[in-house]
């Protein structure tokens, strides 16, 4: 049996890993920005993020991984205290 890693070089195959589809954060048009002063650490944004790009920091606050956040805005919509604002993405 051929080594799967060898075939993966040749055929379009993806292996489970963070960002196996590339840095999808580059697709973003609007960027969610969290106001930590308003945040109540309820975790709703972490639970609802469709791409699992919001992580919980050691101090309990949410943190967005902008490498993979596509800017869909679900977190901003579900935030009960309106602590997440969508701002226009600035492309470098």
């Amino acid at each position: 049996m051929t080594n799967i890693d060898e075939l993966a070089e040749e055929l379009p195959i993806s292996k489970p890993s963070i960002g196996s589809a590339g840095k999808t954060g580059t697709w973003r048009v609007e960027k969610p920005v969290i106001d930590l002063d308003a945040c109540k650490k309820c975790d709703m944004c972490i639970l609802e993020c469709v791409e699992s790009t919001i992580n919980k920091r050691s101090d309990g606050y949410p943190e967005i991984d902008y490498d993979y956040c596509k800017g869909c805005g679900v977190c901003s919509t579900v935030c009960p205290v309106k602590a997440i604002k969508m701002v226009a993405e600035v492309k470098m």
């Binding site: 049996m1 799967i4 379009p12 195959i13 489970p16 589809a21 590339g22």
Partner: protein
């Protein structure tokens, strides 16, 4: 055997584990034969009953990824309906063999032979072979499995053979022993899925990656030329029947004129060549056995002749005969007159007399650059 049964027999000997075929004229009697092999236990394979050609290709695509040797067959509208998954299989580079009983495309409705369905899939990342007769269809089916599963290639292969002209015509057939077939195409020794290391099939490829995989597919298609020649040589030795690889040059060594053709009417052209030679006309036949990859390097061997006549059973509307276009592109720098003859569309009868007629017209200087044999 008739062509459909000859291909079914070759498939039985190749021992696929999974088949999925949806009936369509003129392929149906092949499916019936395969179903009877599977029902009687002569072929130990799962024949999946599907509701369409789209599902037929989708189900064997999955089975092939999971490690099975697979086969399907279709024709005309069925090939078009299968189309979406055909491109998925080509892009994913799944080892699959498909028999295509060539047939005209509607509208108007026609169940008869031409090559429009087959050539419509020439950019789908599939190797495409085309049989001249029933023996060829049997021989090519066996070679197709070996080429498809070669690790330097890993591409799906279509074996085309003319609807009715070959599918329903009975010819004397020489077959290989099962043991010889077994040693020629042993069980596939690799699997795309390694069950210990999960992978995703059909994943998204970003703008960075997509083009790289297409580039690799292009390279695999180029590499397959050498593999096809190798497999052809091995099969020639095994069977005692010369296979000629990508293209066969028949009486071309000294020929001033060359007819280029693929499929069943290459047989008519062969008889026409013999008859014209008996009248002292210096002519030969270049039979395209494989059109993807296209044997453009090999065609250079006939670049310094007086003229080529390319026979096409399919047409690119708004441009020209499809093979003629490709032959012209291959010989772009050769400065040789290339005549395009379109015929046999939708099963219109033609044989050696029509081909001889075309050649005589060429010799008398009356042949136009493109002619339709209506």
């Amino acid at each position: 055997m008739v062509g459909n049964h000859a291909v079914a027999y070759a498939v039985k000997q190749a021992k696929p584990q999974v088949l999925a075929v949806y009936p369509i004229t003129p392929q149906t009697t092949m499916l019936e034969k395969l179903a009877s092999y599977a029902a009687s236990g002569e072929l130990n394979a799962k024949l999946i009953k599907v509701e369409s050609e789209h599902s037929a290709m989708a189900s064997i695509y999955g089975a092939a990824i999971a490690g099975a040797r697979v086969f399907t067959a279709t024709s005309s509208q069925g090939l078009l309906y299968m189309g979406e998954v055909i491109y998925w299989a080509g892009g994913q580079r799944v080892p699959i063999v498909a028999g295509i009983a060539t047939r005209a495309i509607g509208s108007p409705w026609s169940i008869w032979d031409d090559h429009q369905d087959f050539v419509s899939k020439r950019d789908a990342i599939w190797i495409q072979m085309m049989a001249e007769n029933v023996q060829d269809a049997y021989d090519m089916t066996l070679q197709a499995f070996k080429i498809s599963e070669d690790k330097r290639v890993i591409l799906p292969v279509m074996m085309g053979f003319d609807g009715f002209v070959l599918t329903h015509t009975m010819e004397r057939l020489s077959t290989l022993d099962d043991a010889n077939v077994g040693s020629f195409i042993p069980e596939r020794d690799f699997n795309i899925i390694d069950f210990d290391k999960p992978i995703g099939i059909g994943p998204i490829a970003t703008q960075e990656n997509y083009i790289k995989y297409r580039y690799k597919a292009m390279q695999a298609m180029e590499r397959s030329k050498e593999v096809i020649e190798e497999v052809s040589k091995e099969y020639s030795t095994l069977s005692g029947r010369e296979q000629h690889g990508l293209i066969e040059f028949y009486k071309c060594d000294d020929a001033e004129y060359i007819i280029v053709a693929m499929g069943a009417w290459a047989g008519d052209a062969r008889v026409a060549v013999d008859e014209l030679r008996s009248k002292g006309i210096s002519i030969g036949l270049a039979k395209l056995r494989v059109v993807r990859p296209f044997p453009k390097e090999k065609l250079m061997q006939v670049k310094d002749r007086k003229a080529l006549i390319v026979l096409d059973r399919a047409y690119s509307y708004g441009f020209g005969g499809i093979l003629a276009t490709e032959v012209k592109a291959s010989l772009y720098n050769a400065n040789i007159p290339i005549y395009s003859v379109i015929g046999g569309i939708g099963g219109k009868e033609l044989g050696k007399n029509e081909i001889i007629g075309v050649v005589e017209k060429l010799l008398s200087g009356k042949l136009e650059s493109e002619v339709w044999l209506l």
